[in-house]
Subunit: 261 residues, 4 copies
């Protein structure tokens, strides 16, 4: 970290077992605690350790850090410099991720995100491609924390996708634009009205306030922001016009592949 | 608790929300912490508080304590007298429950069980009726803790089922017998050989050791134990022969219903 | 049906079993076929039978018609007057429902919908409250069928929800408005451009075309349509202003409950 | 098929899409129908086509044949020589596979199996390693069909696993032994008593009959059968003693890997 100037040690462990009996859960837990403590003690000043969890795969019977609870437990035992990293594709189906976001923020333990998207398992699709409402609800929690003077967060935002059908740069541009949309919509939420509706237990109104923000077309706003920043308002079209893809494809030995092969 | 002579305060909260925006996650978390702390401070001496979690239902958007991580976090903040209670039907599909059991034992935070069974959600079927291997693997962790001189556990075992098709007493007898079988099989695991196979990374042998125990027919053993205790070796048959069901059915106004109606 | 003037026989069967061995799957299948055939033969002219499926609950081991495949098989054996009904909450997690919609339309076997919404199981929430993109994608298939001169559909649209926290009429207004939004957005999809992008295997463009329609704020359009129809452009606000709820609550013995209690 | 002397054309299609809008569901369905019909018409006499389905992966938005219903629909349109192949790892969580087995047998459309095991998704673990009761319940349906003089089946049994941690031959021996155990236990089910309990709606007794068979330790029986066939009664131990693994490892360039690398 010192050599590269990094201030984040981001750890994901593929460790786990494939069959009942293969290994001793409690020993493995203790080994993990010990190993992390050794690394934690060696962290340079002003750096953080982010601990990622994943429900399953590549291990198919158990994973050593399968959920936010295990990552949180480790991070809490280690100390203030250790936090939890959320990858959007690493949960059981129908897990309420925005709740975990809020929970970890409340504990000062949300350290970062691996953004991506999935319909089934750890599909690593373009962020925002499936169920974009979920991304908006996650950002609604992130913006709430930003707006709260009593909450401090320092969250590392990363994109972690695996595109084998889409051209990678185009998919990355889509991802960034979808994140900007979710963020912009979350900024539009009328927080005072929301708090009032919640206090009044007016479910319909509270939900409607979120819907109004979510249903707003924020593309014109984002285009204006990009213009004011001296950027092209339409990133994907600009990229396509740039001819960059054709240029690097031609330069690449063996032609145009940008995927796995 | 003092009046009834109870030494366990077992808490399950149906609390949660049904729609995005309905309530403030972080406020609810803080309310929960505060409420539990107030109750915790009032616990009589030599008693414990068990905190149960549930993935969903009756709340359909978020549940305040949806997983072991939230229950653990609460129990840890409260202190030594607070522990986690595991209900077998309260997890997302394919959760490795025996891993959670081992994890909580290792933290001294496993306080109790609600035994039941499910194929889909919180089905509350007869314990051991679906996937009895899972029950065996859970008991394998419980027995490992019993055998370890450095591990102290004090686990409250409860059955929490909802039978509307089977006669309730018969279903309860089945449940108890299935628990006895799982426990007996877990006692048969050759722990030394298992540890040796694990140390040698011999996956096939380690798995086979568990299988040998699981595949043993422990019914003759259990019948012998019951005989030595002066009990009928076949509890279900004995109950059926006893005529108890017919007696209480006749005594019940409106006939033989033992189900929901 | 003749007495009530109904032309739709909509069937949902709670039938199934709770435990392995409880019943014979194949006998039950044959009984179902026979029973449905008897009813089918008695259908009045110009009527249809809609067969609904459900993954689980109230049966917890197996359900006699758990998926579209079983309902389709029954409907196909019966004949042209039998079709399948889709309830949005009756699928395993992450099932691609819009694909089933397209499949059944292609077979002439989509007969109707029970609209509702869920995050977990058959939660019966306000339609469109969770993952509204899914509703849009379903309507995208429905509109494609409407636009295709070679496709005939006759689909019965029903709302099937269970509101115990929200006032029921308000929740129903929300549901209808959310359905209108999904339909309006699906009408905005540029079908020619979509087909061209699909033919060119331009995934990014094809996805973007759907996103442009989905991200359009159709509320102003819907308000205009309502005005042109002589309706209040804001149905929920209009209902709240109407005082209807207060009136019927006052008229109801025991006060204002509109929920389960 | 003629050249190799094969009488089974076993088809699994990885086809599907990763993003909404990527392709046209109905066109793809029609293409699939057309393509399969062309192949079906070219099938040699006395051969069969087996159509496999898979819920997801490698496609992450939709799969062209995601469930038994789609495979059944294709097979039915094609004709008698087309049947469905079930891979145990290709279903949504908690799907009742034994019900699908019974359903397809009843339709004369069960053509074959890919045996393997999973806890999460298509994990391709050793068959019988997780939830062996499910395998027993599947065999209970298979044996019921064998015993029924009015049912004809011709089922191709295949093992389809992917072992990267266990030595492959050992894992295959385990798989075969686990299949033999499931089959032997299913043969032990008292079919007459089961039918009687089912007719009497005695759920507890019906379930107990299956449990008695499942809990029987069939290892001694299988050892005796192997002895009578002139085989070693303990296949795994015999293989380990044979030195075959050491021999082929030594013969392999670069040493002992039997896994992915």
């Amino acid at each position: 970290m010192e050599k590269t100037g990094s201030d984040l040690l981001s750890l994901w462990f593929a460790d786990g077992t494939n069959f009942p009996g293969q290994s001793n859960f409690r020993k493995r837990k203790q080994w993990m605690e010990k190993a992390l403590a050794e690394v934690y003690d060696a962290l340079p000043n002003a750096t953080r350790m982010l601990i990622e969890y994943k429900f399953f795969e590549p291990a198919f019977y158990h994973t050593d850090l399968p959920d936010w609870g295990t990552a949180y437990l480790m991070a809490t035992k280690l100390g203030e410099k250790a936090q939890v990293l959320i990858d959007l594709g690493h949960h059981p189906q129908s897990t309420n991720i925005e709740f975990i976001v809020a929970y970890l923020i409340d504990e000062g333990k949300l350290g970062g995100f691996h953004f991506n998207c999935r319909k089934y398992a750890d599909d690593d699709l373009t962020v925002g491609s499936i169920n974009p409402q979920e991304l908006f609800l996650i950002y609604t929690e992130l913006v709430a924390a930003e707006l709260d003077p009593n909450t401090e967060t320092d969250i590392a935002y990363m994109i972690d996708q695996s595109h084998n059908l889409k051209p990678k740069v185009e998919a990355s541009i889509q991802s960034v634009c979808n994140l900007q949309k979710a963020y912009a919509k979350a900024l539009l939420v009328d927080r005072e009205a929301l708090a009032a509706a919640q206090d009044a237990a007016d479910l319909v109104e509270a939900e409607s306030i979120l819907q109004r923000a979510y249903e707003t077309d924020v593309n014109p706003l984002l285009e204006q922001v990009r213009l004011e920043m001296g950027r092209d308002p339409h990133p994907l079209a600009a990229y396509r016009k740039s001819g960059y893809y054709e240029k690097i494809s031609a330069a690449r030995v063996g032609g145009e592949s940008q995927g796995w092969a």
